[in-house]
Symmetry: C2
Subunit: 597 residues, 2 copies
């Protein structure tokens, strides 16, 4: 049976040494995030996920969820109790607003905890996962009454939130949605339609489920411009806040999926259900995007978090499995064979996973800090800079980290040989669970398109210019020191490739949008590599500084340098080939008639 230990030390390294979270004490909520508080949250969080969530991860996968004849859904054994622990421990409240019962801690702290929860039990983490995004949408667009009615219970986790976009015939292209909202004259609407792939759409964990539903109100344009956002509670809430009648919404069936089997993926049937408009009519997509951007960061983290738990188990196996001899002669001569971790190619698989786990952790936490700055920065300039970078990098964080998480999980499964393919060992589950992260919340190809077609050009390219300047400045500052050269030189080169690719896009993507589309995926990969190369170089700098200052944990920082070097030598070098793919353009890709595929 697989195991998991939350990498608290590495989280702390990123927070303290790389992001220097202590420098942000002037921001709202950060002063409360003292080193002691952060340590307590991470350590208690680690304990919770290791003792409560991880032990029911594999059994949850084997059992799956059951839809009962009355439409209710039973989650796997232990999930209900574990969710009770989650509520009682206040784990949903970490960075929620104080006025609604939250602890008001920085978003970056809840991101740190979120990783542990996903690694321990992704299907479980998905139940409360979308609630945070739902809270954000209501916070930003909802009325005061809606906030008072729904948010306190959603903050504690007593009520869950879901996100209802997809319909049988449409996912990416929301303009096609058919779900209708008929105004009732009393300010409410009757919602009718079918939504599919609704994660946690129905379950037995929470007292109520607050569905956020996209629909077209009567008379609205039948395009993306006609979409409004509605709150549709599973159980209607009385004026006094108590639960009232069951709403006309029901889980029609559960999907049978490749993974995340312990999460109930529901077909939801709305049959004249009572809904409440959130914000303005026909501004639903913008309101939903608040939720989606938050969700995309969380999904990017899923890739990395599964890579992490897969890595931990592969390392344990590679140290334990005695098979063959080191290429340079026996390392374990008293036994009949050496542990397979002596083999360079086994180490390659492990380190390939590790660079994306640790690099991805830095990326996700940095993303969390940028979200904090977007909400809390004290100057508009600082706020805008943070907003530019996180808007630019959200598709990269989602698309690149999930691709790499799947790859990492696959590599770690490979370390097990045949045993990796047997469900008992748990590695298959990590791969199967990781797979969804590349698909949902906007398939990774959509992320790539969002990056090149929307994000690059926004505000005249202000964000990408700021990104290049950030990387170049770092390189210029550190390129001349011998200890940083092995990290900075490859980063500079990769950044140059990315700049060339950006230039190519500017010159070729506008005249022929298919060039932008054809280049989008390798471009996203390049930006992912440069972003991680930048973060790895920063981590190398932090490790050097710590070693220079003297530390009683030398091996931690030395290993950080080795891992950084592996990223520079074996991953950052891919930008050269990726640039050639970008420059290949769209002629060949568009040449074949659709019917000839």
């Amino acid at each position: 049976m697989p195991s998991y230990h939350a990498p608290v030390k590495d989280t702390q390294f990123v927070l303290q040494h790389v992001l220097n979270i202590q420098n942000y004490a002037n921001l709202e909520g950060f002063a409360d995030a003292t080193p002691d508080t952060i340590a307590a949250v991470l350590e208690q969080g680690a304990k919770f996920v290791e003792e409560v969530l991880q032990p029911i991860n594999q059994s949850g996968d084997q059992e799956g969820c059951i839809r009962n004849p009355d439409g209710s859904v039973t989650t796997p054994k232990g999930f209900k109790e574990a969710y009770r622990h989650y509520i009682d421990g206040g784990w949903g409240t970490l960075s929620a607003p104080v006025e609604f019962g939250g602890q008001g801690l920085p978003h970056v702290i809840s991101i740190a905890f979120n990783e542990y929860m996903i690694s321990a039990n992704m299907a479980f983490a998905m139940y409360p996962g979308l609630t945070h995004g739902a809270i954000s949408s209501i916070m930003v667009r909802g009325s005061d009454a809606q906030k008072q009615t729904y948010i306190p219970k959603m903050v504690t986790g007593e009520w869950l939130g879901t996100m209802n976009l997809t319909e049988p015939h449409c996912g990416t292209d929301l303009g096609l949605i058919r779900t209708k909202a008929e105004p009732q004259g009393d300010g409410t609407y009757k919602i009718t339609g079918t939504k599919i792939f609704i994660s946690a759409g129905e379950n037995d964990l929470a007292d109520n489920i607050i569905h956020l539903v996209l629909a077209k109100a009567t008379g609205a344009p039948d395009t993306v411009k006609g979409i409004s956002l509605f709150i549709v509670p599973k159980i209607l809430v009385n004026e006094d806040g108590s639960l009232g009648a069951q709403n006309s919404v029901m889980c029609g069936s559960l999907e049978h999926k490749m993974g995340i089997k312990a999460n109930a993926t529901c077909v939801m049937n709305y049959d004249g259900a009572t809904g409440y408009l959130v914000g303005e009519r026909e501004k639903g997509l913008q309101a939903m995007f608040i939720m989606m951007n938050a969700a995309r960061l969380g999904v990017g983290q899923q890739g990395m978090a599964l890579g992490e738990v897969a890595y931990q188990n592969a390392v344990a196996y590679a140290k334990d499995r005695i098979q063959g001899r080191a290429l340079t002669g026996p390392q374990n001569p008293q036994a009949k064979a050496d542990p397979i971790i002596v083999h360079p190619d086994v180490r390659r698989m492990l380190l390939d996973a590790r660079v994306y786990n640790e690099g991805g952790r830095a990326f996700a936490l940095w993303g969390g800090l940028l979200v904090d700055l977007v909400h809390k920065a004290q100057t508009e300039e600082e706020r805008q800079q943070a907003d530019d970078i996180i808007s630019l990098l959200t598709p990269v964080l989602k698309g690149f980290l999930t691709d790499k998480g799947y790859e990492a999980a696959t590599n770690c499964q490979q370390v097990f040989g045949g045993h990796g393919y047997i469900e008992e060992w748990g590695m298959s589950q990590f791969v199967r669970d990781a797979r969804i992260s590349m698909i949902y919340e906007g398939a990774n190809g959509i992320q790539a398109l969002d990056l090149v077609a929307r994000k690059l050009g926004q505000n005249g390219g202000r964000a990408v210019r700021a990104f290049f300047e950030m990387v170049s400045t770092f390189c210029a500052e550190h390129k001349d020191t011998a200890e940083m050269a092995p990290f900075v030189a490859p980063l500079e080169k990769a950044n140059g490739h990315l700049q060339a690719a950006t230039m190519w896009l500017m010159q070729n993507g506008l005249t022929n949008p298919n060039n932008a589309g054809a280049a989008s995926y390798p471009y996203m990969q390049m930006m992912g590599l440069v972003t991680l190369g930048y973060l790895w170089a920063k981590m190398a700098k932090a490790a050097h500084d710590a070693l220079a200052a003297g530390t009683d944990d030398e091996s931690f920082f030395k290993n950080k340098l080795i891992t950084a070097k592996h990223f520079a030598e074996r991953h950052l070098v891919e930008t050269g080939s990726l640039l050639r793919k970008v420059e290949a353009g769209s002629d060949t890709i568009m040449a074949m008639a659709a019917n000839d595929f």
Copy 2:
């Protein structure tokens, strides 16, 4: 539900236009393989797999196999009947030796049919799959009496063959095996031990199962040098060829796997079972390698075959799914959206799969032809050349094509968005089934090590020199024609990178074997790219020639050129970055202490 159509036309293109099979009529069995015969085999084979095997592929995955309390195994519904069709159709006999009831057709023809069978139903194809290898081992090493006793029934498929290497504590390192063989004084042995991961180890398809089992005979060295190979029939065979008593071998349990669920993966318990030595004592590994090399080609093909069926279904979905608009404006203005195949990034995923499907098909069929030449070439020189190339490329065919097959299946699943994750659509099964091909018959890392540590240096590097000469000669012949330049120029460049990597290995791999180990994986990938680049250039040449000669199927050959170009532009370009990975050496990879992982 997914569908499948055997790509007979593409197989014929490779056989006739690329491999020029008609030029080998002087070889034994090839004269019988007239164009009419080949067409009949392929078309009837297509019909068989499409009508009989494909319809039970998804249900087989859902049902899986059942081990009954008496140790017998029940295969999924329809498998027994389908296997009866397989026997009755003579599908096992295609390239089996005529003197034992086979049709004596070229091996390359059975390879062609094998692909269809895997695409239609990989789990089914695995039942007879190892029988061919078992036949080869007995043919080459067995006594005449053994051949007479076992081979005719194995050729028809009435009896199946299996391969028993792995034990709970060892797979790759066979020196560690513990299964014992005690001589009984009458020429037979008593075999005792446990074997795991035995594909088709027990089932209800065949009248008998002929297990080929590695064991150490009493007194043999307890190392890889002490291994002998034994025939252990499930049911003992009487002198007159009739079935006798049940042997002391039993399926102890079935594994629960990520995929290939309809194939019974057995723990086999040998409890003093009667076994018959094959060939000489303590030469068991050599005898088994005959079987393993055949199996490795078949496994390489599995990757590609699953990529193919995944591609076909993704294409159908991409043409059918209406979502969003083309970047250059509506292509389907009368509807509310365009089919997603208008999007460059969807085409990228499809073409990325297609280049490895078609390129892999050419590689596998070429491999089959080389195996024919190894057995049937009329001059020793020709035989040796074929043997050199197929020995060199077997690990590449296995390792590279299975990695790419998994990637192709994953990409094709991605085309479906969320629907790809739902089991009903069948794409998940292709990914799950493809995954095993990277693991078994020597995990892909072992293939890479076999390539750099054994194959490259054999006979003073004769094979790799011949490989480079083959590619260089082709490039020299065709580089100056305008129509071939787009394929030859990138191939020459990639071949140069591969030569540089080979040189680096010669200079650095011998002094420090860890350098060879650290370089092995990217080196295997480079050789895979150059091999496919060479085959794609040959296919482009064949397509140009056909177009120049005039054809009534212009679009087929034009599409071949487009696909070849996609490979050159988007895949062959990866060798530059891979060379840098090779040249990174092993210092970083070996730097971290095992306990610091």
